[in-house]
């Protein structure tokens, strides 16, 4: 799923930290950031200023319930 442009991405990281399992952000350049890892969080924070970074990457949660926790930050998928 795609991420919305984040106004305050610290809220997003806090929501990620509350997730039950690992949450990944896959960038267009092939980076796979586990947003539960501190280094990845630093990298993500540094890259978020680039609007393309968020727009072209995608989110991946390992548990369905975690998608629910992050729903507010994601762009709903179009059916069909």
């Amino acid at each position: 799923m795609k991420l919305k442009q984040l106004e305050h991405y610290r809220d997003f990281i806090e929501a990620v930290q509350s997730c039950k399992s690992d949450v990944y952000f896959n960038s267009r350049e092939g980076d796979r950031l586990n947003l539960k890892s501190t280094l990845s969080q630093y990298l993500f924070a540094a890259a978020c200023g680039d609007r393309n970074f968020l727009a072209q990457g995608s989110m991946e949660c390992q548990k369905k319930e975690d998608y629910e926790r992050l729903r507010a930050f994601m762009i709903p998928e179009q059916n069909g």
Partner: protein, 436 residues
């Protein structure tokens, strides 16, 4: 100008309590104005950002570039929470070091309306070490050039300061708010605030300090050899830190601690601790020292390392009447409890028949070999429950308890409560006493 200098001089030398209170009142009235001036000055001098948060963690002023990014760094590294936890302790400047070695200065300030304001200066890198560490981490994780460039662009604006400079800025911040001098306090990285455990920095070292350090080191090693509990370990570490500025700060403190670890290991092996055990302990602590990412964990590491050798020497002294076979057996269990231990394997390692070793162990120690293994593993489980966020099932698996029920039962028998309860209540009630 002359008059202003004389006024400042007078303020610095006022010592009476009533005068101090008056000074405080005056400082609080002007604090906001002074802080704005300070924020501009520190940014102009070395691009060090200033941040002001209210009691609810809301940011309402910053002079830092990359505000969102650095604000995230402040949170991710745990330093914002560390400073928030200190709300009830205003009037003391702190130097904090979070993940990646980014350092911050913080102090709570009284406001005229009775409120409190958290002022933070940062981030700053201490010399170049953390930058190099970050680059190595990026290499290790195969991060793309694109992401790497963005990351380094943001970090490129972080000023690189010597530790002494950071200490000076902390003193300036405190003087700006309270019109008095003080020594900043170093907070442990990512550790919950606990009064009385801080390391207070003293003015820079002179020749006598090196002599004092050497004397302190000698005394600590003497106490260690005698198995006498000593309280001077943190002081020793602080003495070590005073020499921070000469070269690469973090590398220097690591080198000093590694040498001290080697000396402690040698004292331990000379005082009955099996060479294998002493070397294994030495290697383990060197690994932890090398893993230090910031300067502020050094005090805890030194204390932990010293206490580990102290416990081993003490144990050797207490069990000196035990045969070498039993001591070897205990050492093997203490160093291999994370593996699946069988009587057959232990006996083979010690070079005795299983039945003989088992009987000998029970006779000399008063407990069965299997009970001793449980004792060592329960001790390890207690540490893991308190110091890691591992699931209880994972801890049970790591320590080879077989299944969760068995782990719960053995833990409860020895500690009096279940592992979950132990973790939940840690720090809230009196320490648990082990059942005899």
């Amino acid at each position: 100008m002359k008059q202003r200098i004389i006024v400042t001089y007078t303020i610095l030398h006022q010592t009476k309590e009533a005068e101090r209170v008056q000074r405080m009142k005056r400082a609080v009235q002007d604090v906001e104005k002074h802080l704005l001036l300070l924020a501009g000055q520190v940014f102009a001098s070395c691009r060090l950002g200033a941040w002001c948060f209210d009691e609810e963690k809301h940011l309402y002023l910053t002079t830092a570039p990359y505000q969102e990014e650095y604000h995230m760094f402040l949170r991710i590294g745990g330093c914002l929470q560390l400073a928030i936890d200190r709300m009830e302790d205003p009037g003391v400047p702190y130097i904090m070091s979070g993940n990646l070695g980014l350092a911050w200065i913080a102090e709570w300030v009284h406001l005229q309306d009775g409120g409190r304001l958290l002022v933070i200066l940062g981030p700053a890198y201490l010399k170049n070490t953390p930058v190099e560490q970050s680059l190595r981490s990026l290499d290790r994780h195969g991060i793309s050039q694109h992401l790497r460039r963005q990351y380094l662009t943001v970090l490129g604006d972080v000023p690189v300061l010597g530790f002494d400079m950071l200490r000076h800025y902390a003193c300036i911040l405190h003087y700006t708010c309270y019109l008095e001098g003080t020594n900043p306090v170093l907070l442990q990285e990512n550790a919950p605030a606990a009064k009385g455990t801080e390391e207070v920095f003293r003015p820079a070292a002179d020749k006598n300090d090196y002599q004092r350090m050497a004397a302190c080191e000698e005394q600590l090693l003497y106490d260690l050899a005698k198995g006498v509990k000593t309280e001077g370990v943190l002081n020793y570490c602080n003495s070590e830190m005073q020499d921070f500025e000469l070269h690469d700060a973090l590398r220097q403190i690591k080198d000093n601690l590694i040498i001290f670890t080697g000396l402690c290991s040698r004292v331990a092996s000379k005082n009955g601790v099996p060479l294998y055990t002493a070397r294994a302990t030495e290697n383990e602590w060197i690994r932890r020292i090398e893993a230090l990412r910031g300067f502020s964990g050094a005090g805890k590491i030194t204390e932990g390392m010293y206490n580990a050798f102290f416990r081993q020497i003490r144990q050797e002294k207490e069990t000196g009447d035990q045969s070498s076979a039993v001591r070897e057996c205990r050492t093997y269990i203490q160093t291999n409890y994370m593996k699946e231990l069988t009587l057959e394997e232990i006996a083979r390692h010690c070079g005795y028949a299983e039945y003989y070793l088992s009987r000998k162990f029970s006779r000399e120690t008063g407990i069965k070999l299997s009970e001793y293994i449980h004792q060592v593993r329960v001790d390890a489980a207690k540490t893991m429950l308190l110091t890691t966020s591992k699931e209880i099932q994972e801890i049970s698996d790591d320590l080879h308890f077989g299944n969760r029920n068995h782990f719960d039962r053995v833990f409860r028998q020895r500690v009096g409560v279940s592992p979950a309860r132990f973790r939940e209540q840690a720090g809230q009630i009196e320490p648990f006493k082990e059942k005899p």
